[in-house]
């Protein structure tokens, strides 16, 4: 399953990249599973995306929850709570 990942603001800076195309392994079927998969990549990823940090996830540009299912081709964005206006 191919996912298009996007990272914004503090998370983009911590990871040093604004996104990637990921060939997700079997079992990465929800937002929570994807987050766990990315956190396991290493210290940098853990610091940016671990459960201690409040972060928001959007799937195909709609706000998502940990149990939101992922499908092939989805755009998944990770970002901090918003601060516009």
């Amino acid at each position: 399953m191919k996912l298009r990942l996007k990272f914004f603001a503090r998370i983009r800076e911590q990871l040093g990249c604004d996104g990637e195309v990921l060939e997700a392994p079997a079992g990465v079927a929800t937002v929570a599973a994807l987050r766990n998969f990315l956190v396991a990549r290493g210290e940098n990823w853990q610091q940016a995306l671990s459960g201690n940090r409040v972060l928001r996830v959007a799937v195909n540009q709609d706000m998502a929850e940990p149990d939101t299912p992922l499908c092939d081709g989805d755009e998944v964005a990770f970002f901090p709570p918003v601060t516009g206006g």
Partner: protein
């Protein structure tokens, strides 16, 4: 209905004149302009950079406007939000709403602004004398948005 995300400044007066002139049954134009302050959380702010999520930003603001239209009898709503580098005294955001009467227009304008602050994917990074820092989301903004779920909408007039 319109949502614009742009780097350049806007003329709030001209935008409101256009909204007012668009139809003859407009009796009220309510608006809000957000401005960059020169200090935040005890530090002086020299400038800030606004980042956003192109595509989702416009979509999420349009969804907020659609909700406001369902909830109040309003005619039109315009949101202009700037991105990029901004300095103190610069305008950040305009929300303008037209309706027959002020009650609906005021309420819808405040509702759109409260939800924009908690739902639309913008992030501010401030340049202060101590260096650059990302602005943290405020609990008071969540509270401002949450109170709309406990208020019953005003009856249409």
């Amino acid at each position: 209905m319109a949502v614009r995300v742009q780097e350049q400044d806007f003329d709030a007066g001209a935008e409101m004149s256009r909204l007012r002139a668009s139809r003859a049954d407009v009796g009220a134009v309510a608006s809000f302009v957000g401005v960059v302050r020169d200090s935040n959380d005890g530090a002086s702010v020299g400038s800030m950079t606004l980042e956003h999520y192109p595509g989702m930003t416009e979509k999420s603001i349009q969804a907020i406007i659609d909700q406001a239209k369902e909830r109040w009898k309003i005619f039109d709503a315009l949101v202009i939000h700037r991105v990029g580098e901004l300095k103190p005294r610069d305008q950040i955001v305009l929300v303008a709403v037209t309706g027959s009467h002020r009650g609906e227009a005021f309420a819808a304008c405040e509702f759109i602004m409260d939800f924009l602050k908690t739902r639309a994917p913008f992030w501010k990074k401030e340049q202060t004398q101590q260096g650059a820092r990302w602005v943290d989301a405020r609990v008071s903004d969540d509270a401002a948005a949450a109170r709309w779920s406990s208020t019953t909408p005003k009856a249409g007039r």
